[in-house]
């Protein structure tokens, strides 16, 4: 994470940022991914936020196409003058950003190609740069699989936030989830930065920040204060006590969070406390907001995978979008 950069900004979100905030939006042609892109566009209204749209094409293993490389079919499509799906999806994303005013015709445009072993099409990207240095990048990437591609892309760009649409396979739980977890779930588990999983993401309903008073939660509050300031999103606070006796601790947690935000001059719309199972309560309260925001429990990827955490369980069961902050 850009701790060095983020911390100085969070201390005063109103001050101009000296580092670029980078958002990686994973595009797969689904409505969810474009909703995620719209949200990214709202966060990236300022000059100091870059957006990279990435479509990952899994490299062909050949067996599923009976030993004939998929490139033969793809090459035939190109010879007919047809665009490959990834190109179409990225162009649609670019048009959406133009429509929303994040990208303009007069930006400098540069195209790059990188040869990749095992595919004739390779990696391709188009880089749009404004006069002030703001970037919008369209990236068509080839990788062994989609998850590896997205995580590789993080390594290239060290993004602050990954936005990915909840795929149809998200519902994979239990044995099915272990056998074949959804792409979004894998990214949420393994990405080193904050991950927003877009599910019916509607702009304008605010962020619901869930705190338990821990250090990780307080760090999440500071980081989301920065993101919320970028998109001018209203903030609400929620803490859940597992039983009535602990309710006082929940109240302390929201008050502590409120103080952090007050110190940052960030307005809090409401504070909520609930009693019950934290995952159930958060999931039930969530749909009134654009995003449920949680701190990552601090576990590493393997522990997150096997042990899970409140954040991961909320992400798996929520009805709306969830952002896990790291």
């Amino acid at each position: 994470m850009n701790d060095d950069v983020e911390d100085q900004n969070i201390n005063n979100p109103e001050e101009p940022h000296h580092a670029r905030f980078r958002i990686l939006v994973c595009i797969d042609g689904s409505d969810e991914s474009y909703r995620g892109l719209r949200y990214a566009a709202k966060i990236a209204k300022g000059e100091d936020v870059d957006i990279v749209l990435c479509y990952v094409r899994p490299s062909d293993q050949g067996l599923s196409t009976g030993g004939l490389q998929m490139d033969v079919a793809r090459g035939n499509m190109l010879e007919w003058g047809l665009e490959l799906p990834g190109i179409t999806y990225l162009k649609k994303g670019r048009d959406l950003l133009m429509e929303l005013g994040n990208l303009r015709e007069d930006w400098e445009e540069r195209a790059f190609h990188t040869d990749i072993t095992g595919t004739s099409l390779g990696d391709n990207k188009i880089d749009y740069t404004s006069k002030s240095g703001k970037k919008i990048v369209l990236k068509l990437k080839v990788a062994r699989d989609v998850v590896t591609g997205i995580l590789d892309q993080w390594e290239l760009g060290h993004y602050d936030l990954i936005i990915i649409g909840a795929s149809a396979r998200w519902s994979g739980k239990g044995l099915k989830g272990f056998f074949d977890p959804a792409v979004a779930e894998k990214i949420a588990i393994h990405a080193p930065c904050s991950v927003l999983v877009a599910r019916d993401l509607e702009i304008g309903h605010g962020h619901l920040l869930c705190t338990d008073g821990s250090e990780a939660s307080n760090a999440m509050i500071r980081k989301d204060a920065y993101i919320a300031s970028l998109c001018e999103c209203p903030i609400s606070l929620l803490s859940v006590a597992p039983d009535v006796e602990s309710e006082i601790n929940a109240e302390k947690a929201v008050n502590a969070a409120r103080k952090i935000l007050d110190d940052l001059n960030v307005n809090v719309v409401e504070t909520l406390t609930r009693v019950g199972n934290p995952v159930d309560e958060i999931v039930e309260t969530g749909p009134d907001y654009s995003l449920i925001v949680l701190a990552d429990g601090g576990k590493n990827g393997l522990e997150r995978f096997f042990v899970g955490s409140v954040a991961m369980k909320v992400m798996q069961t929520a009805h709306n979008s969830v952002m896990v902050v790291r």
């Binding site: 000296h18 293993q61 067996l63 030993g67 047809l82 790059f112 760009g157 149809a168």
Partner: protein, 511 residues
Amino acid sequence: MVDADPDPANPGAAPARTAAGRALKLVKPIAGLRKRGNYLYFWEKRWFFIAMAVGAGLLYMPTPEGLTQSGMIILTMSVVATILFVTEPVPLPTVALLIIIGQVMLMGIESKAVARSLMSDSVLFIMGSLMLAVAVVKQKLDTRIAWILVRMTGTKTSRIAFGIALVSGVLASFVGEHTVAAMMLPVGITLIQLTSNDPKKVRNLAAVLLFSISYGCSVAGIGTPSGGARNAIMIGYWKEFFYDPLNPETFMYLIDYVHWMMYAYPIFLIQVPFVTIILLLTFRPEYKDLSRAVVKLRAQVESQGAMKAGDWVAIGIFFLVLLGWIFGSAEYGMGTIAILGAAAFLIAGLVAWPDVNSGVNWGVVLLYAAAISLGVQMKDTGAAAWVAQNFLDILAPLGMDEGVGLWAAVSLLTTGVTNTMSNGAAVAVLGPIVLKLAVAAQESPIVIGYITAVSSAFAYLTVVGTPACTIVYASGYLKTTDFLTVGWKMVVMSTIIMLAAAGLYWPFLGT
């Protein structure tokens, strides 16, 4: 590392950042990712380790009664290979390498003998037909085929869908479904895009046309031996398992091209209208007529001009290969004819070797070779017969240990397996077991073999089930759930037609 966007090292990207801050920004995440990377590696490969643990566990278990030690080892290798086929934690050709290593190091078979067992006519056929597939796709005859198709069908959507399924099917039955799917995919997408550029407006039309290609190809792949690797594999198994040059009674197990077609081609033809009906009723396309798209397609074809000499030569070679398969495969083998055809395309200059080389996944050829070798070992060690007998014991209380019940059980088993892995691999893995099952149940190995090979085409439920499904899915118009929505209806239809053919038609062929 491929590139560095949005280039962290680019000074323009972060003009006000200090060098120390930039270094800190880079070092922290890289260290974090490396630390997590180790976990990620184990997590990504977890099925490999699980498969190996299962394999070790099975090898340490006491050998069940009736099974030899080498039978236990080959069975363990099959279980491990199947887990790896389905979960794909490592590149699949790696499984082939492990099978080869396992045969030498675990079973103690001489490496020369293992190497010899890897190459058979079936493997030559798979190699040759893949080279032919690349050569045929490169001829760019698809626009002309598309135009002939719409001239025959007119502009009504339902008739075009039927025409696509039939034409794709007839071609796929001879040259393999991957070839035709690759050729016909642009035809389908062009018709869709010329109807409307908005994918939402043509969502159902796209499903009907694209599934007409993939399911047309799938139901046809069974039609002739050259329709798919699975057919060649089954023909190879019949010969390997039952043919004895000294016993004339076993000559019936040498199945030639025409013999196969007599069994399977009618099943393909009967299915085609049902494919169209199922697709039209399931998706109900938004546009009932595609006249605007057809007019534009015509203009596209006319811009290509008349057929050129090279086009005629390509068609000529293709028909010579077809004649070779029909009349010469009994003597020379289907694999030799396929390789001869590929060589003819290369000699005529109709395709370049780099195109063939990059268009064929040679790892898959190796995988099929190893899978067939594993299947032969399953027979030689008695493992296939042991599994078959145990499977039969499970079926007996259900009354499915003979006749139609057994056929349905074999079909169900094959359909289940083929939907989780390539249909060629499914036949390679299941073939030895079902053929021994036929012997144990005193059923005809020919009938059970055909049922297995035909049922391996019922991989309508998943994207990866058949090459044609994978290729049309790459268009971006279909969802994975679409395959389930329509696929189960296709499975029911195909199973009923196949069982009806096995019960009513095949007896006339002398099974």
